[in-house]
Symmetry: C2
Subunit: 247 residues, 2 copies
Amino acid sequence: MKTFSQDCYLGVLGGMGPMAGAAFALRLAALTPAAIDQQHIPTLLRNDPRIPDRSSAYMAGGASPLPHMVDGVRFLEQSGAQLIAIPCNTAHLWYDEIAASTGLPVLHIIQAVADDLRRLGLSSGRIGLMGTAATLKLGLYQKHLEAQGYECIVPNDDEVERYCMGSIRAVKGNRLEEAFAPAAECIALLKARGADAVVLGCTELPLAVPHALRASLGVTLTDSIDALARAAISHYQADQPEALIAA
Amino acid sequence: MKTFSQDCYLGVLGGMGPMAGAAFALRLAALTPAAIDQQHIPTLLRNDPRIPDRSSAYMAGGASPLPHMVDGVRFLEQSGAQLIAIPCNTAHLWYDEIAASTGLPVLHIIQAVADDLRRLGLSSGRIGLMGTAATLKLGLYQKHLEAQGYECIVPNDDEVERYCMGSIRAVKGNRLEEAFAPAAECIALLKARGADAVVLGCTELPLAVPHALRASLGVTLTDSIDALARAAISHYQADQPEALIAA
């Protein structure tokens, strides 16, 4: 990585949830090939947990998060962001509207996960999905992965509520010690149904399943936080406008 | 914690280094008593690694980070920050100048560590110090802790270079697996010289010494990232202007 010129940032619309937004910034730094501070990607993280709950909006007619997300992206753009990342899977139900509201490129977390599956050697196969009830019910992953040749295995409604939402709510409520068991249960269940890999398709789930415990689960996992971080790093490595980088 | 009203933020001047800035945001979320996203502290993290190296400026006459830090605080203030945190110990060599440049309260990381020592039950005693060569040589901790009745135990120059700077550079260079051993060596050495507690007085050092391994080191540790996060949380809990919080 080269040294970045002033006044450019990766803009991160975080807060959905706040621990996931911060974890994205941490994994971005950890996965960046950098030997000193100055080679890391300058990042502006608006970690604003006041954005109305995405699941409640879709599933229970709650306040829409869209105006808040559009405001957030506008703030990041005005502050010098040249690329936007949104470390929240459910927020991508509004991806088209968000992308239409800004002239900046907006990374797509589901596409980042699909790219990560290929990085992990899976260009086809059965993919087990974990995420919020809204993400799974509205087919956010199914639509994208099936179009790219994957077959999706989705937990039933009871399993989503018990295992996925149980784990996600524990992370959001700072009860990390309660978050692993239900997530691990769901991973085992998807593996037993034939999944070649399991998507941690809500940015709380990678926090529920610590990196150190993943090998013990016996199935390939793709982590939507890490996948989005890798997509941001690839953007800067491969595709960056000259202006981003000092000579 | 209550729900925050719009347009207020904890402004975080990060990037020094970037992993420490992100880890601060993560630990802030983890340590906040919150049951749902909306009860977390809204945070704006300017994680800008382009700020010139603090140690090089003091120790080798490198470019001063002060103008960059003042710019960063001004940006945070203009973006709605109502409180500033700077998760970098060495940056606090310029604390007075930074605090004078803004009307906002600026948390002091060394004071946060002193408060944390008292939280840990140590209101006097011998405190082993770890940090950058600049932080230790210029007596940043010694000045504050001795004024509050503590006695400081400081590694010699060779030990600072080998153990503290060795560990810090490994974190900054994303070689976390090489960061633990030199840090643990220094902790053991300070304990052997009579330290009642050891200060991880550089925000890279808590990343070098994972929480899961701390109990095995056999001495009380205070972590400057966690201490600063606790100071921010205390500010919002105890001392917040009414305007910060929605009814």
